[in-house]
């Protein structure tokens, strides 16, 4: 059995027939061909699959595609116009906020959500805001620095 869905990812509309069980992350990666969004844990614990659904961060590994029907999804590939970087991307680069890079797309999207709801977070608030995202490489410290720098840049 398949059902029709229509959703927009990074400004492009996708009309597809899908199995109702298809997770949003698999739609994005396999039907959308956008592999920047990662699956890290399958259980909503690591945040590597974080995307924006109508501007709000969700775990795309625990969201069915049919739940996103009619919505607009933003992934790491669509965070900034082609050829440019979002301040968060720039700050993760500046502050060495990544090593292997696998958690980074989800981490940046989670940080985006944090700054959307709290544009001037303290370091403690940044740490709490990102506790749902696992990074095994950095020890988080440079991620905190990156988010702090991005907040400052975005406030300007």
């Amino acid at each position: 059995m398949t059902v029709p869905v229509s959703l927009t990812i990074n400004g492009r509309r996708y009309d597809r027939q899908i199995e109702p069980r298809l997770l949003l992350v698999h739609f994005i990666r396999e039907l959308g061909g956008l592999t920047g969004t990662k699956v890290g844990c399958d259980t909503s614990q690591c945040g590597a699959c974080t995307v924006l659904l109508d501007g709000v961060a969700v775990r795309s590994c625990t969201c069915l595609t049919v739940q996103a029907d009619g919505s607009s999804v933003t992934t790491i590939e669509g965070l900034a116009p082609a050829g440019s970087l979002h301040p968060l991307q720039e700050s993760f680069w500046n502050k060495h906020g990544l090593q292997c890079g696998f958690c980074t797309p989800g981490m940046i999207m989670a940080a985006h959500e944090l700054l959307r709801t709290n544009p001037k977070p303290t370091d403690v608030e940044i740490r709490h805001g990102l506790e749902g995202n696992v990074c095994r490489c950095t020890g988080y410290q440079n991620i905190v620095r990156a988010v702090r720098e991005a907040a400052e840049r975005m406030a300007r």
Binding site: G36, H96, Q99, C100, C137, T138, G139
Partner: protein
């Protein structure tokens, strides 16, 4: 610019693709006609397979093939162990890629389904009927070593995979002469590495060409090719292994695994590209774990704190089979490091490697050295407590004095260079140690339980001379190689045999080349990870990529510079010995204004219109570098914690890491390595443990159950350094990938035990969960 680029914390060259979602990891790849494999894994820790019925699965929608152990056993040789530890009565149990009649851990592969989609493959797994006759299982390595324990493999009594010893000095005399002996049973709990990218393999068989191309999440593509060739029979020249972007390893991507070989088999048998990518549950069940030691330790000392001897018996749980490098980790990389930073006159250690019904263990960040460091650092603290001495004083009393060029310890290793007292003094000054102790005393008077923990360490890394590799049974070399190719416009391609996967060598190695030949760092591209493109190398683990691969690269770049100088002399009509070089410019001594740049020479060498007699065209050099010794980074860490007496909760108050990895190519990257390493070690002390029940079920089978370090539970790590160059590396570099982890578990443990001391708690097993701490306080 070359004088400034070495030591500069420039931004990483790797990052633009990683922060934009443009990087390609193995599971991001799709090939035309690609099929998906899914592994059926044993739900039992130990059982006979009585029947397998795959008929329904074969009829399921989209299913192309189902294979069992019977199908692959003649096509795939057993999964090899490649560290044949000598003088240890090593018994390697055959490890079939798919279990044939017996499963020996939860996660052992029983069958594979190949289907048109990932979902179809997993759906069909549910339709395979397997009959199991459960057998008794054993997880604890001490219990598994006893007579009467469940036996995993025929002809391996008491499950003993090996018994290895290290000894030096007269340990019995040392204990007889001791004023004080401190004893402890230390459990180095089993850990799950948890690289954020799970493992994956994509194989595509070329059919009539007989060529097999494999994308694999590996830290060492050349070793993977070597092993895959041996297991599948595909000759090395027809087997190409590519490590694309790899999302962390920490040791868990060294081994070549059953599922890799099964995926290769499926592609070869079906004639289509086949991709397999682990779920996280599979990763926790079947990708290698780390640690798992039970250590019975005794330390003998004089009453002034002078250490006289160390005696230890280790039971190291190996899991159900011996993984690729597993036998060397609790032995060579552990036992030989037991002198640590101390003058240890006598030592005896017995290491029993024991098969258990658990996931095979492998290297895990630090690999043997954290377990050695922890033993010494914990025992030194116990000694200090027994003698009512300050732990810092006991360390200073026993430390090897500063040395610049070689110091041989009781285990026979010759450390390259070190200043252990200097490092400890610097970090104690940094934290204002006396003030900290005063604050602690004041806090205790008010019912607050602060703990201060020290850990000093030296690690063996930069693995290592190949002759030694052979002598210790490692079935490979440990050299590295590099090619530096300067194109006509002066742009440079560097090809390396090592295989970074997050450590940033695309940047630091470009800095090395810029430093050596004076090109812009952005003009250097570092390529790695493809056996058909990169020269042979033994991989990225053991903090060896910069120490060994970096040395190969520096010496290759110097060959380029030497050749360029000869060409420059010719173009300037001067004698080579009259030439000088600075910052990418070659000139006659005293005449720097009339210089040939490296770019001028690159163009001339590549067009070769006017070359000196006998000099080859092109500007390229390769270097195979086999280090004369290991590298020995060291340091001292200080942790400050506070224990909440009411809840057992531990709060990290402060963490200072002093590490000496020699000169730093890029201090920002070094700092990042220390941060990550420290936090991984903190994870072991406070949260992480692979838990099995009495039947061998893995209870921590998902990230819901296995507690990882998270941002809100950590404090900032203060990173400071001393710089003691290695005497044998061309730029004095050592290595820093594992340093943080090696020290931090012990530092946190010592801090927690220091905090709990006034509450009467003398011993406690990691991880220090609130429940354990609370119970310990309330039982004491």
């Amino acid at each position: 610019m070359s004088s400034r680029i070495f030591g500069s914390g420039i931004r990483r060259r790797e990052d633009p693709r990683l922060i934009t979602g443009g990087a390609t990891y193995t599971d991001d790849l799709t090939l035309p006609g690609m099929l998906y494999a899914a592994m059926l894994r044993s739900p039992h820790a130990h059982a006979r397979i009585t029947s397998i019925d795959t008929s329904a699965a074969k009829q399921a929608p989209g299913v192309v093939a189902v294979f069992t152990g019977a199908d692959v056993k003649d096509a795939l040789k057993p999964v090899p162990c490649a560290w044949l530890l000598p003088n240890s009565n090593l018994k390697i149990a055959a490890f079939p890629a798919i279990a044939v009649d017996t499963v020996r851990f939860v996660g052992d592969i029983v069958a594979v389904v190949v289907a048109e989609t990932r979902h179809q493959a997993y759906d069909a797994l549910e339709l395979i009927e397997v009959g199991y006759s459960p057998l008794p299982a054993v997880i604890d390595p001490v219990a598994a070593s006893r007579d009467g324990a469940p036996q995993l493999h025929p002809d391996i009594p008491r499950n003993e995979a090996f018994h290895w010893t290290v000894a030096g000095g007269d340990v019995d005399a040392a204990f007889a002469a001791a004023d004080v002996v401190v004893k402890e049973t230390i459990v180095q709990q089993r850990l799950i590495p948890t690289a954020l990218e799970t493992r994956a393999t994509l194989a595509t068989w070329g059919g009539a060409s007989g060529e097999l191309t494999v994308w694999n999440t590996t830290q060492n593509p050349h070793i993977a090719r070597f092993v895959m060739s041996a297991v599948t029979g595909v000759p090395e020249d027809k087997l190409r292994v590519i490590a694309p972007e790899v999302g962390g390893g920490f040791g868990s991507k060294i081994a070549v695994y059953p599922a890799d070989f099964v995926t290769l088999f499926c592609s070869m048998r079906i004639g289509k590209p086949v991709k397999w990518a682990e779920t996280r549950s599979e990763n926790y069940q079947a990708t290698t774990h780390g640690r798992d030691h039970v250590q019975q330790v005794e330390l003998a000392a004089k009453k002034d704190g002078t250490i006289l001897g160390l005696r230890a018996t280790i039971h190291a749980g190996m899991g159900a089979y011996l993984s690729t490098a597993a036998p060397g980790i609790p032995t060579i990389l552990h036992g030989l490091m037991l002198s640590a930073v101390y003058q240890l006159p006598a030592l005896k250690e017995d290491v029993h490697g024991i098969y258990t019904n658990a996931t095979p263990v492998e290297a895990y960040r630090g690999a043997g050295r954290p377990e050695a460091t922890f033993m010494l650092e914990r025992m030194v603290d116990k000694l200090a407590a027994t003698l009512k001495m300050d732990p810092a004083d006991v360390r200073f009393k026993n430390m090897i004095p500063r040395f610049e060029n070689g110091h041989t310890v009781i285990t026979g290793l010759s450390y390259d260079s070190g200043d252990y007292p200097g490092g400890l003094k610097k970090v104690l000054d940094h934290v204002k140690y006396a003030d900290l102790r005063r604050q602690q005393a004041e806090g205790r008077a008010q019912g607050r339980y602060l703990g201060i923990g020290l850990a000093t360490y030296v690690e063996i890394c930069g693995l290592g001379p190949s002759q030694v590799a052979g002598a210790i049974g490692f079935q490979g070399g440990l050299w590295e190689s590099a090619i530096v190719r300067v194109h006509p416009t002066g742009k440079v391609h560097v090809f390396i045999g090592a295989s970074p996967h997050g450590q940033g060598e695309e940047t630091t190695f470009a800095q090395l080349v810029a430093h050596e030949i004076g090109v812009e760092v952005n003009d250097v591209k570092v390529l790695h990870g493809d056996t058909e493109m990169s020269p042979m190398g033994w991989g990225t683990y053991g903090s060896r990529t910069t120490a060994v691969g970096g040395a190969a690269l520096i010496l290759a770049a110097r060959k380029v510079r030497d050749k360029a100088k000869v060409i420059a002399a010719h173009l300037l009509e001067a004698a080579v010995e009259d030439m000088d070089y600075a910052d990418g410019r070659f000139f006659v001594k005293g005449a720097p204004d009339k210089a040939k740049t490296i770019q001028d020479i690159a163009l001339m060498a590549n067009v070769a219109w006017n070359m000196p007699a006998g000099v080859e065209a092109g500007l390229e050099a390769s270097m195979f570098y086999d280090p004369p010794n290991f590298a020995y980074p060291f340091g001292s860490h200080v942790a400050v914690v506070e224990v909440d007496r009411e809840t057992g909760q531990i709060e990290l108050k402060r963490y200072v890491a002093l590490d000496d990895c020699g000169p730093q190519i890029n201090p920002v990257i070094v700092e990042g390595q220390v941060h990550g390493g420290v936090v991984q070690g903190i994870g072991q002390a406070l949260w992480e443990q692979a838990v099995y029940d009495e039947n061998g079920q893995l209870l921590t089978g998902t990230m819901l159950d296995y507690a990882l370090p998270r941002a809100d539970r950590l404090c900032d790590i203060e990173v400071i350094h001393t710089v003691t160059p290695s005497p044998h590396h061309p730029l004095g570099l050592k290595g820093v990938g594992e340093a943080g982890t090696i020290a931090s578990t012990a530092a946190i443990c010592n801090a927690v035990m220091d905090a709990l001391a006034p509450l009467g708690v003398e011993t406690l097993r990691m991880p220090f969960t609130p429940e354990r701490v609370w119970n310990a306080i309330n039982k004491a």
